[in-house]
Amino acid sequence: MIDSVLRTVRLNKSFGGLIATNNVTLEFERGQVHAIIGPNGAGKTTLINLLSGDLLPDDGEILFNGRNITNLPPNKISQLGIGRSYQKTNIFAEFSCYENCWVAAQSRLNTSMRFFRPARQLKAVLERTERALELCGLSSRRDSRASAMSYGEQRQLEIGMMLATEPELLLLDEPLAGMGSEESLQVIELLRRLAADHTLILIEHDMDAVFSIAQRLTVMVNGRVLETGSIERIRSSQAVQEAYLGVAEDAV
């Protein structure tokens, strides 16, 4: 019996006639990096959206640390310790880098319905913010307006915000997309460090990255789970080669 952080049981979600996730039953083990790959439109983002509460499943169950979180709203799920980053950059464009992370960090207060003490005096939030900035490598851009940063930097910020909420489980939707090679390496390094004491669910098309940090792999095609298993097994799986990777050289 593995120690699973998150479990989905026969998750279904369809849009109109289109079945985006089809009977997805998966188990995510504590402390592991579990990557989900699959062709475009396979339903990966939809799955993440279901896990984070951005979408409600048609049926099926999601269990987080044994607790049923199936129909909880995104904010509740976030509070339970599931953080996510978005495939399409989703930040506070007019805020500075620092403020972006601040708002994220502040969400871990018992309540932010506080009207009296200036927020700036909250030590704990301050530290969390700094740490997040440090981690995502944006300390030097702390005062830049997010909208004035380049696309890649915005992607870094996206991750920084998630980290500022200090989640236990991280849902990462293509964190490397749009990043330059160097930044990619940095982020991969970061993810590897995070993997030490977090559970990561990672969607990524960059196979080098996937193979270098993931321990388990799930391949989705057309809303369905095609295969789940260790890296080596998936890498050598014929079905996966055909459905996703194409010729082997790309995977190396």
Partner: protein, 241 residues
């Protein structure tokens, strides 16, 4: 001499571009000839996108000139520049969320400046079969990769002389990414020029005739793929790989 400038699709000199007060491009000169494939590299935030936007008139440069087919179009509105036969795939995709896939594609379909009509709906759908299955879906209901295919398809539908791809393969599955590179190869063969921003160095080196590396708003390297491939210290210095 005159012939040579005629052969340049874009010929930009001394571009200085700002966003408000922040100075991004510091005197970049850039040109691309007919049929040429050019790669544009650089770390995040170095000004690649800004350069492309300056060329297209989306963020007009404060100083410098932009000539399109030898004609000075500095400061001209973007649509005039684009109409000369340029197609742009922006990094944020720019899908119209309130239009269906089909509408996104046919909305600006046209034949090229010389009347060429290599790309039409059928061919685009053949290239990206996924789109054919999603014809009546709204733009904002597509997956990230599907949106990416759609922007590339939409750009091709204008039958350009020059295709500008700003991180066009971002978020695409390996198979589709290969599809895109083969499209680029195809259009290269049909004599269409391309400017490509991408982080897939290997693919770029294989495709590009010429490579440009930008750092802090300046061109720090320009050379052939062979040269670049032979000098790995250049990428280590400017690209970090």
């Amino acid at each position: 001499m005159a012939d040579q400038t005629q052969d340049l699709i874009i010929d930009a000199q001394g571009l200085q571009t700002y966003y408000g007060d922040s100075h991004i491009l510091h005197g970049i000169s850039f040109s691309i000839a007919r049929g040429e494939t050019l790669s544009l590299m650089g770390r995040n935030g170095m000004g690649k996108t800004t350069l492309l936007r300056s060329l297209l008139g989306l963020t007009p440069p404060r100083e410098g000139t932009v000539k399109i087919y030898g004609q000075d179009m500095t400061g001209a509105p973007a649509h005039k520049i684009v109409r000369q036969g340029i197609a742009f795939v922006p990094e944020d995709r720019g899908i119209f969320p309130n239009l269906t896939v089909k509408e996104n594609l046919v909305m600006t379909s046209r034949s090229g400046p010389d009347g060429r009509k290599d790309w039409d709906l059928t061919r685009v759908l053949d290239t990206f079969p996924r789109l054919a299955q999603r014809m009546n879906h709204m733009g904002n209901h597509l997956s990230g990769g599907e949106q990416q295919m759609l922007t590339v398809g939409r750009a091709l539908m204008t039958n350009p002389e020059l295709l500008i791809l700003d991180e066009a393969t971002e978020g695409l599955a390996p198979l589709i990414r290969k599809e895109i590179w083969s499209v680029v190869r195809q259009i290269k063969e049909s004599g269409i020029a391309a400017v490509i921003v991408d982080k897939d160095l290997n693919a770029l080196l294989e495709l590009a005739d010429r490579n440009i590396i930008i750092s802090k708003g300046q061109i720090v390297y320009e050379g052939s793929s062979a040269d670049l491939a032979a000098n790995p210290e250049i990428h280590t210095r400017h690209l970090g790989v």
